[in-house]
């Protein structure tokens, strides 16, 4: 089992960061690595069990992921990959936000566990860890910095 753990401080209050990332259908609106998304079967994007169907930008293929848990209390959600161009299986990931009370900021922690089915494990870890999770925290910081 491969594990990825990426964490970063986002310089905005937790309610603002959570408001930005909570929408399971909203990833392409703020993450440049992804484009187009819809929730299958017309379900609300905060309905546990719903499936988001979205594209990797630049023709990288389609990913389908199922929402497994969502907590407004703990500012966290968990999802699994159903189909993906990535050579992974058993992929489960969690995004969780924590308040940084000193300075009124947010800590984002994004973790994933999966098995690599093909190719180099380090390449997959890089694509998931820095390419997706790390990039997400970077663009969130840029977004909130641009609003100040």
């Amino acid at each position: 089992m491969t594990k990825v753990f990426v964490s970063a401080v986002v310089d905005a209050p937790i309610d603002q960061v959570w408001g930005k990332v909570r929408d399971f259908n909203g990833l392409p609106q703020w993450h440049p690595r992804f484009s187009r998304s819809h929730i299958e079967d017309g379900l609300p994007s905060d309905c546990i069990g719903c499936v988001r169907n979205f594209d990797i930008a630049g023709g990288g293929g389609t990913i389908r992921e199922r929402l497994l848990t969502l907590s407004d209390l703990d500012h966290t959600f968990t999802y699994c990959i159903l189909t993906s161009p990535l050579p992974v299986e058993g992929y489960v990931a969690t995004l969780k936000l924590f308040p940084v009370t000193v300075g009124n900021k947010t800590l984002g922690v994004w973790t994933a566990e999966f098995r690599v089915t093909n190719g180099k494990e380090a390449d997959v870890v890089e694509a998931v860890g820095n390419g997706t999770f790390g990039k997400a925290f970077e663009v969130l910081n840029e977004f909130f910095a641009s609003r100040r």
């Binding site: 753990f5 940084v100 009370t101």
Partner: protein
């Protein structure tokens, strides 16, 4: 039941911070409000169940706290108060340290639940949150910060 939660970024790697603070007998080393500390009965300070007996710098006030849980895997420990000059009862607190991979820093959390036995609840909550927890973070950061 009153609850207090404080968290901060410490500009040092999580393993460095954890090595520094996991010693249940080390409060005088890093907390500016604490003068002396010993573990009762000569027990190791990482033996779950041990009691630290320590005094406040301001007034010599005595506190006894029991280590309830300690995890190197999760970089966290939990303790409760047995005796304290503070107006609290049923006090249980936890410290936890999480790596911040962006910048190789540490996210430090400290929280507690307790009953306030005299005086305005908010006064005690703010006192513990700011003068104990945040002051502790600031001191750890000043001793370990890379920059």
């Amino acid at each position: 039941m009153a609850k207090v939660y404080r968290s901060a970024v410490i500009d040092a790697p999580a393993d460095v911070v954890w090595t520094y603070v996991r010693d249940f007998n080390a409060l005088p080393k890093w907390h500016p409000a604490i003068a002396t500390s010993e573990i009762e009965g000569g027990l190791p300070s990482d033996r779950v169940g041990c009691v630290r007996r320590f005094t406040r710098r301001s007034d010599g006030g005595l506190l006894r706290e029991r280590l309830l849980a300690l995890s190197d895997a999760d970089r966290t420990f939990t303790y409760n108060i047995l005796i304290s000059p503070m107006p609290v009862a049923n006090y249980v607190a936890t410290m936890r340290f999480t790596p911040i991979t962006a910048g190789n820093k540490t996210f430090a959390e400290w929280w507690a639940e307790f009953d306030v036995t005299s005086g305005p609840e908010q006064v005690t909550v703010t006192d513990i949150g700011d003068n104990v927890f945040v002051a502790g973070f600031a001191s750890i950061n000043s001793k370990l910060a890379k920059h």
